[in-house]
Each structure stands twice: as C-alpha cells, then as structure tokens.
Symmetry: C2
Subunit: 477 residues, 2 copies
Amino acid sequence: MARSYDVAVIGCGAGGYQAAVTAAQCGAKVALIEREGAGGACLDRACVPKKALARVASLLVQTRALVGQGLAGGMRCDIGAVLAHDQDLIADLKRRLPHRLRALGIDLIVGHARLRDPHTIGVTGPQGFARLLARRVILATGARPRPLPACPVDGERVVAANRLIPLLASEPRRLLCIGGGAVAVEAAFLFRTFGSEVTLATRGARLLTRPVVSERAARLLERKLSESGVAILKGVSVASTRIDQDGVTVVFDDGREGRFDRVLVAVGCVARADDIGFRALGVRCDAAGFVATAETLETSVPGIYAVGDMKGGPMTAAAALHDGRIAGENAAQGFARRRNYHQVPLVIDSILPLGVVGLSEDMAERAGFAPEVVYIPYGASAKARVQGASPGFIEIVHDEETGQMLGGCVAGAGADEFVHLLLGACRSRRGLWSLADLDYGHPSYGEDVGAVLGPYLARLVRTQPMVFRPGIYAHAD
Amino acid sequence: MARSYDVAVIGCGAGGYQAAVTAAQCGAKVALIEREGAGGACLDRACVPKKALARVASLLVQTRALVGQGLAGGMRCDIGAVLAHDQDLIADLKRRLPHRLRALGIDLIVGHARLRDPHTIGVTGPQGFARLLARRVILATGARPRPLPACPVDGERVVAANRLIPLLASEPRRLLCIGGGAVAVEAAFLFRTFGSEVTLATRGARLLTRPVVSERAARLLERKLSESGVAILKGVSVASTRIDQDGVTVVFDDGREGRFDRVLVAVGCVARADDIGFRALGVRCDAAGFVATAETLETSVPGIYAVGDMKGGPMTAAAALHDGRIAGENAAQGFARRRNYHQVPLVIDSILPLGVVGLSEDMAERAGFAPEVVYIPYGASAKARVQGASPGFIEIVHDEETGQMLGGCVAGAGADEFVHLLLGACRSRRGLWSLADLDYGHPSYGEDVGAVLGPYLARLVRTQPMVFRPGIYAHAD
C-alpha cells in the first residue's frame, strides 16, 4: 500500500534537507528520499570538509607569518591525517542527521526516486520498491560539474571539482586549477598552503566575476593569492590537454603551455542528465538544462517545486538553504513566499576570507539607488592589526540619499560571521543607524564600522530622514 | 591668554578619547588633555596588546590540538619577539591617534591638568603652563589597581595587573594569579599557554562572578582552564606573603601554602589618589572613592561629567567607550542621554573566548521578565566542529511570553564579534525573529542559531504577538 505525505522531498543535500525540515516545522507530514544517505555534496565533499581544510590552512598561514614575530618552530600539514580527521568529523555529523529528521517526524527513505505523476513517486531501494503519494513534491537533486571539452576528466590526472578530497590525498607537486570562481580559488589556496606548486587559469578578466563581489575585493584576493605563490593566468582558456604516464601537458589559447602532475577542472555546474522523470511530467527547463522556477520556486507543473543547484541561480549551500526554507514553507502551507538571493551571504574561505551580501556598488546603481561606498581599510584597525589581517577591509554600500544599507563586503579574518551583522543592517529599516549606534567590544571589527559612520549619518540628518525602499530586502523591522 | 573650548576632556584612554571624538563630531570645539600621550591603559598595556597576545596564544592552542590530526611539527612562543612585535604595533597605532584627533579639529594638549573652577583648567606640560576655559569638562583619568594588603606589590616579584607585559617578559616558571575576574583569567590563559605553571586563586565561589556571565559559561571556562593545566583554587584569600631572594611564599586563609616565582595581583581597581582638583570643587564620590555620576554621566557639579574606570561601574574599555559617546554628546549638545551598560558587550579572550551581552537568566528574572534560555551546544555545530571549538555553546535569553531578546552569551571561537549579532537582536523590536529569519552562510554559527529558533517562535505565534518592553534596551527599530 502506498504511503501518503503532504510533502515529498527528493534529494537530501543542503536544499532538500532544509526544505524537509521547514515543511515539517510547518506541520506537514514529510518524506525525504535520498539515494546515498543524508548529507549531499555539501556535507560529503564540499562546504563542511572544505571549511575544516581551510581552517587548517589558515592556521598554517597565520603561524608561518608569526615565525620571527613571536612563534618559533615550524608546522607542516600531514595531509593524510587531515583527511582522516575530516572524514571522522563528517561521519559523526552525518550520524546526527537521521536523528534530527526523526525528531521532526520526517520519514527518511533511502533509494532511487522516480516521479510517476505529479503526486506519485516510485522509490527503489535496499528494502525493495515502494510507492509514495504526496500532495506536493520538492525536487533537490543537485547538479554535476561542468565538463570542459578541451580538458576531459579521466578521474586520475584530470579531475572535476567534486573530487577535491581524493586530489588532496594525491599531494600533487604541480597542480593546475582551471576556473576563477569560488571553488577554484578555495582549491588554489588549499593546495598552495599544503605545499603544491599551483597555477590558476581563468578565462575571466579577474577572479570571482559574480557581480556582488566588488572590484576591490577581487583585486586584493588576486594579490594575496599571488603573494602566496599561486601563478594566476587571466583571460585564458584551455586549448588542448594531453595526459601521459608522468603528468598532463596543457596548451592554452594564448599559445602558452604548461606541464602539471594533476589538473582540477572547476568551471561551474550543469544540470544532471538523469531527470528522475520530471521532464516527462512537463517540468520545463531553461536553455542550460536547469529546472525553471517561479520566484516562489514552483516549477511549471503546479505542486512541484525545485531548490538548490538543480534550478540554476547562485550555486552555494547558503542559497540552497534559502531555497529550502522558501519552498518548504510554500509547499507545506500553500504560501507564495519569494526567494531573494540578495539576502543570502556569499562566503569564500581562502587566503583572503570573503563574506559578501546584498548589492555591490554597480548593482545598486543599476537598481536605481544613489550608492555610496564606505571603505574601512584594516591598516588602521586595531583588531585587524593584532590579528595580522591587514591588508583587508570592510566595504559598506548604502544609499547616500537615505542611509538605507544596500550591501556589504568583509575581506579578512572572520568574514564568514561578520557578514551576518551587515546583512542584519541591510534588512533593518534603520539602515546605517543600526550599525552606528550599537556598542561594540574593543578592539573589534564592529567598532571599526561604528567609528566611521558618524559623518555619513550627520550629513543624512541634515538632509532628509531615512526612507526604506522595499523590493530589495524583504525587511520586517 | 587662556584658550576657550566648548568641551575639555581630561585623560585620553578609551573613554576620554571617545568623549572627545563624539563631542567634536557634534560640532563642539574640544581640548583633550593627557599627561602621557594619547592611548591610555587600553592601548598601552591592556586591551590591544592583550588581544595580540591572546591571538598568539590561541594559535598555539589550536595548532597543538591539531598535532596528530593534521599538523606535524611544533611551535613554541618566543615571548621576547611577541612583545617586541606587540610594541611596534602599539607604537604604530599610537602614532595614528593624534592625526585622527587633528582631523576632527581636537586640540591634543600634553601635560598635567588641574581644575581651578568648574570651567577653568590649568595644564602644566613640556611647553610650560597654560590655562584653558571650557563650558563643560569631562573627567576621564581612569583608576589604579586595587592593592591587596596581605600581598603587597614590590614591582618585581609581586606585581599588579597593569604590569602584565613586563611580567610576561620575565617568563616565570611558577606564577600565582590572584583574582577570579576577566583580567586574572586572561593572564592565567596567557602564562599557561606560553609555558608557565599557573595557579589561579580567587575568593569567589566561581570564576567571573559578574551576574551577566551565566553559571554554565563560568563552569565551562573553569573546566577548560583546568584541562589546560591551570590549578584553580576557589573560595580562598591570601593570608600572608613572604618575598625572598628566590621567590614568593604565599599562605592562603585555608592553611594551604604555595611557592611561586612571581605573583600577579588582579583583584579589581580603586580610585586614583590624585583627584586633579575635582573634589575641592564639590564633585562627590561614592564610598569606594569613585566619582558619583547620574545616568547622564554628569557629576554632582553641573557641567562636569565623568567617564570610564574613574566613576566605577563595569571597568572595561567597551563600557568606557559607551560612556564617552554618552558624555561627549551630552556635554556638547546639552542632551540628557542615559548610559545603559546592558547594551555593552563583555568580551573575555582566553582558552574559552566569551562574549556576553544584556541580561542573564537570573538578571532577567529579577527584572520581571519570564526568561527562557535557548541553549545551542557546539557538539552538533558543523562550524564549531571544524574549528575545534567544541565544547562551547551559544545561549540566548529571551522572554518566553513575547520573544523579546534579553541577552546572549557566546562561549567559543569568534565570540568577540558574534556577540554583536546577539546585541543587534536585543535592540530590535523583532527580538528572536530578527535572528530566525536571516539567511546565514554555511556552515556558520549564525546558522546554528537560526536553526534552533523555529519551535520557540512557532509557540509564540500561537500565543500572542511580540510586545517590546522598553527600559531594558534603548531600542529604536
């Protein structure tokens, strides 16, 4: 007999997990179907293990910088031990997931799902075949690495970004990272810090071409990566690749040639080939093959939603979690809440930790604001100086006519949490004031922000009161 | 001829500096008088150098914990180099202060100040004698370490907390820290990590007896300090001390006896003996000798204000900066803004970084709220696990009838900035909701907070809407 659910979620990566949790918290009876066990890319091989690796790398960078300035001795990375410790940690976190799901009354079903009709899912798993009925379905099956025709992966010498961990274990002497996005940058940082010679090749004119990342942030990141010894090639594509017994020869389209032990291809994602049956039901995809969704994350078939990497948009776990909350609530309660990626921080852990949220100056201008950037360099920051985090900076984008906070960027240690404070201000009706009249610990980055805002606010007081323009942030203050 | 000012500030520590800056930003003509050059205790020998030392110590603790789990080799502290690097850094930050003051049009006057009447100050300095006239005066001359009669300082074997840096340079083999507050805890952590055998003796029944620090935080701190090798004696006072050529013998009032190379006395502060003439003008002091102030920070003499350690209250740089903002604005503009230390974070950098703000559960109960504590242990936090920050936790105190956020505590890495996010929520009319509906990076501590609040909010939605009770936080959202 088929089990019946209010909401069935297919895929338990970050987006699917969150969609199931949110739907259950809204009171829905939820099934969560996953073929490999809960966790997804994020927990298995992306965000969480990379955060652990980035922490080890960051400790190495920081302690090395202090040799002669207070620390004596030397540390090096034992990559085998790092990865083993990492795997223990992941295994422990994964063990906790099913308990959490059970506590919320969610049925976690292991197996391959296939949509029969918009309300019927067949699941083939270790326990045999089962048929589920669901009033609404949330798709969350992720994406796969984009292949690069001129540099096909062989899984050994040339690997895709989802094989970062085994690649680390191989300890390449000379590595080529192809790509200029977050994944390539994070990988270049890790391998370089752990001892590889690293070349990063991107066809972009700069690193991190996402418009939310300011020119200043991209430039400083490039400078710090270069100073750490990463060779950066910009504006180049791979023309051809030859794998032989000892390594890989890569020819670039500008005629340069390089010889590497290993190559990491990190040039984004494409849709999965296997659509688990949704296309046949009429779920429309965009030109790139990603599932097309309305702002409510509903697909072209009523009652079927899609979240995370499978629907395109920003491919970060944070965006997938955002999707999960929106789609979970909409599916469970019939709401029509809309996604808004301006509210989702982008965090990149590398030699220059970055936390970015909202609108950059360019984006704000295009959106019709009169943006002004408050630039807070770390050279004068007591906290940054004691942390060895200079050069680095905080940028605050606000509307100079109203003081509405539009976006922010933290480039330096602690960026991953500090960006949340800036996001809170973006969502506050009080804009810059909400940052200016807090009392901060001393010394702290918060204090550095609070200290510079006075003149900007004084000018606003003299002109006009704050007007919060809705539409950018779904504020509620 | 006497120079005339709107506001004269005496003392350029954290509080005086901030008072001068705020008054100048309000448009006042400001004089800032300092006998030793700008900076004060905070920059010279307290917050900033200690933050730098705590960072080195924290790196050592973190890297040592990773030996065998990913790092190989060993680091030790070269205390001479640490202190030299620290002094360079402080010197550079101090060089910047006069420029900042000048940019705001503040006259920095070096010399000893003495009040002649409430509007006249005599300054004796390297340039001779000068007389200043000021419409309002802000006193900011700080405090001095509390002496312990049973353990008098000799400046060599037995020193007060303001001599932490030279004490570090002496690299004691066996150190006794007397006191159980932030200063003693921070010192015990530093000396232990840098290689000393450390005993901490406090007459308190626990560490950190300030009511804003929860029992759970104090207990975990004690456990981690003990595990690091610090011997902790609670409920004891020093009965007698004997200094001889080779060290110090300390007898406690429970009969125990200890032998140490050096002793650090960190048992709080008392008022300075030299009152620079304000008592003669009728400025009243409390029983302990600290200047008595109204909530506006005005003293018993109209037009004379006092900020920071000299007026008692919480003796942290953050509280002094808070005072500086309030008194600077009140003095410059004739406002009557009130101080509110509930809004000022308390940050303690040690083996368990702590950031605390607002009301603890006990305080909230006494204030008439129905407090409920949301406890977020780090064992299940992906970010904490990858950072090696478990055990640790975040506590959120809110009013269970309304969801008003009353206070928070972060016990673990990054506490010094994360506490600002909790403070922002305390000041928001939206209380817990302001934390629950933010999108956080992944993995992050913010995410851990957001993830647990659902059930608390769901219950509130079912009972009654948020009512923000004023009086605790000067909210403006």
